[in-house]
Symmetry: C2
């Protein structure tokens, strides 16, 4: 059973380059949780300390933006929606491993879901006992977060450009 | 001499909670470099693998935004300017420790400057030999980057709001 669980984690960017014994330690601090179809898993703006890994099922990510990006699958004005599923071993809420912070999106189960949850304190305690594990996970996590920062910076420039054009025309 | 250098690093958020012996190891991989008044230290868009810590002097950070934020010290349209100095033990370019990536701002020396530079490979090699050091620095770095991501997300929402208001009025 452990082997199958370790195999699942191997495909997750957050656990890239972790040897099997470290993945086993990761398994030791996660807990399996289930969510029902339509259940809200986290609410944008709430403070959280839990990361989730989807094992089975699909969730919808809704992020408030006063103006939605029409190229995306926006079905409601002022929100951007994306979907994540167990098929892609999707992870969400990983910034909560670093510090308690406000959720930046609302996540809703669109099917019944099975997930691993990992708590910030369990991760930080494990990392402080096994610095190699902590180092490797944080190297992955900080690369993921810095890629997102680059994307957010690009969005800012695009939005500023749009605003500048509109203001010049009026 | 080492003590004075270690003392300087203690005030830097990136090295928070590092014991003195680890700070000594950090000192062992940095190199002192100087820049002349008006010299460009890094150019927005260029790829870099170096982080800088200002020991003495002041730099100007210029970030291209098609629309500058008028509340800031914008002195030129389409750019935001801020200043960093040795007085506050300022650090810049730290995302380059994670991976070679494009600089997100242009940094110019506004006075003669003395700095420490740290190269990505030297940092990653040191961290792979001393995982505790790597873990502690990456925990600080990932918290710094995630705070910036939060700020960038807030900027996106503000800009979207402004754009939405302007579009409704036209």
């Amino acid at each position: 059973m452990m082997d199958e669980e370790v195999l699942f984690l191997k495909d997750i960017a957050l656990f890239k380059d972790l040897p099997d014994d470290k993945l086993g330690k990761v398994i030791s601090i996660v807990r399996k949780v289930t969510f029902r179809e339509n259940e809200i898993i986290m609410q944008e703006g709430d403070v959280g300390d839990t990361m989730y890994i989807i094992l089975d099922g699909t969730v919808e990510v809704a992020k408030s933006l006063v103006l939605g990006n029409l190229d995306d699958e926006s079905t409601e004005k002022n929100k951007v929606f994306t979907r994540l599923s167990g098929k892609h071993h999707a992870v969400f809420g990983e910034i909560a491993l670093l510090e308690e912070s406000k959720r930046t999106a609302t996540i809703k189960a669109v099917t019944d879901c099975l997930m691993y949850e990992m708590k910030k304190d369990d991760f930080l305690n494990l990392a402080a006992k096994d610095y190699e594990l902590g180092y490797r996970i944080l190297l992955n996590l900080s690369r993921i977060v810095s890629a997102r920062l680059r994307k957010a910076d690009e969005d800012t420039v695009k939005l500023s450009t749009a605003l500048s054009i509109v203001l010049q025309e009026t």
